[in-house]
Symmetry: C2
């Protein structure tokens, strides 16, 4: 089970390899939110999202004899790129199982990061069967995207940095809005802050229509989304919180905050204008919650994790359109 | 005259107030450049450009009895915002003299940062006369944009960070491409690297048609641009290098590198796609030189300063268009 000691150990393994992202501020965002806003831009992490932390944590902890045989992951998005680069930097093979209808750019990017991409037909093939056959043939280790203690511990290193950086600004109490899919980042950050900044409280942020975590926290049991996909926030659309992450979320998090897609796009536009960072819709829901749902938030300061920036130009243009209208 | 001791003293004054921007990399940019590329994203600095460093350096060094009366600057751009915020953070008044035809957003931003904006009519009024009258009436101190030792020293702190951060990556020799207008940033970085990373060589980067620094270095004497304004790279369009900056540039810099506007836009697009940062055309010429003028650059590594990110959505869309075409 993940705990602060595992996170501290992950931080040691990540040191010198992970990027320590800064903590950004803007008086213009403070004005909108009505309180001091801090943004942790994990879009500036290697491969453009926090996923590199968890991937590095898991791969670096493998027994060397096992690691040398390689790793495997199912993903068409940020986790795939994180695993691909972390494996490449360890000099070991990575196989990524992606649907054959994944965007060509994502497939190309994953290959360019050194991974072998195995495409499968969503309709006719089971990715688990393909993956298990490949893993057993070649002795590959599966790196799960969130329900894996070493991955949660790696994401938790983001929380260690938040605790240290906020303290440098004199902030020890704040709601911390974390973009939440399966809950790997959210639970890791919550564990880190429980130990290092107990005055802070993590709040999962989700897009409308995919508020499984908020409802799960309310119900005290795992709830699923009705839809499995769709909408702009693809990076954080998982069917339900994980078996390992949910108990952590349930013990440590405050209520979830749900934002609209339009609010996510407006948060992206303000991040462009005021922070000069590129964030994707799923990576913007935390900032959108901080900026536009102030009545649901407590305290003089709020911290939002901008979890990723892998956004297509067409979607980014939709965000820029919100500026012209403003 | 600026020197490494002044830069070190500026770094002490800036500590805890300036943002230490990270040093970013992407294997995709390395591939394009044919060597290892490091980007210093000063767009992530307070107010979206390196100008905050010089402004803080100058204001923090003022005699307190003088400082309390306030500061004044002529600028419609990044220097204005840097001076406005640095003055606000010192709790002293700032007056910014701007042309009445400056973009409304820039005027609003400068006011929102706490400055008093005095508009003047470019055709009928002299900004210097207005500024001198205001300065003498109120005892304001003029903060020059580049030809001022304390400002050069402040910009030089960016060079100290580059030397430290590159060494962490094992890099002690590299061409360092710096977006160059009046030469404040370029000369400050060159002085810092002369002392802290003597294996590095600063190269001024400029847009086509505004290559006064490159020509001045070639001629060994200050040359002026034919045009005074125009084009997308407005942030770095100054008529000529400064009286204080040129001797430093002349002593320490390698040859200038000139890029096209299209190359600057393509560099902005790649920074969006691969680094998740927003840079303006004038802030992209260093990266454009690193990526697209490799035959003019020496060594296995190149470092580009992305000096600012204050770009209008319409211009950013032009950059995104380059991605669709690629």
């Amino acid at each position: 089970m993940s705990d602060i000691d595992m996170i501290a150990a992950a931080a040691e393994r990540l040191s010198g390899h992970v990027r320590r992202t800064p903590l950004l501020t803007s008086p213009f965002l403070d004005e909108i939110a009505g309180r001091q806003v801090f943004v942790k831009p994990e879009c500036l992490q290697h491969t453009g999202s926090f996923k590199f932390r968890g991937a590095w944590s898991a791969i670096s902890a493998l027994d060397p004899d096992l690691r040398v045989r390689g790793v495997i992951a199912y993903s068409s998005g940020n986790h795939a790129q994180g695993v691909a680069l972390a494996a490449k930097m360890h000099g070991v093979p990575a196989v990524i199982i992606m649907p054959s209808d994944a965007p060509a750019l994502k497939i190309a990017n994953t290959r360019a990061l050194g991974a072998e991409v195995r495409l499968y037909d969503r309709a006719g093939e089971s990715r688990e069967e393909i993956g298990e056959a490949l893993a057993s043939d070649r002795g590959l280790t599966l790196i799960r995207p969130f329900d894996e203690p070493l991955v949660i511990a790696g994401q938790g290193t983001c929380g260690l940095e938040i605790a240290e950086q906020a303290a440098e600004h004199g902030v020890t109490e704040a709601d911390v809005l974390v973009c939440c899919g399966g809950g790997g980042l959210t639970s890791g950050v919550a564990l880190a802050l429980e130990a290092k900044a107990p005055g802070m409280r993590v709040r999962p942020a989700e897009p409308e229509g995919f508020d499984d975590v908020k409802r799960s926290l309310q119900a005290g049991a795992i709830q699923r989304n009705n839809a499995e996909a769709g909408g702009l926030c693809d990076a954080i659309l998982t069917p339900a919180p994980g078996q390992l992450t949910f108990p952590i979320l349930s013990r440590l998090c405050g209520p979830g905050v749900v934002v609209t897609e339009d609010e996510a796009l407006r948060a992206m536009a303000l991040a462009f204008l005021r922070l000069k960072i590129v964030i994707e819709p799923g990576g913007a829901v935390g900032l959108a919650a901080a900026l536009f749902h102030g009545d649901e938030i407590e305290g003089d300061s709020v911290i939002a994790v901008a979890s990723g920036g892998n956004v297509d130009p067409a979607v980014f243009r939709m965000a820029l359109d919100r500026l012209d209208a403003a």
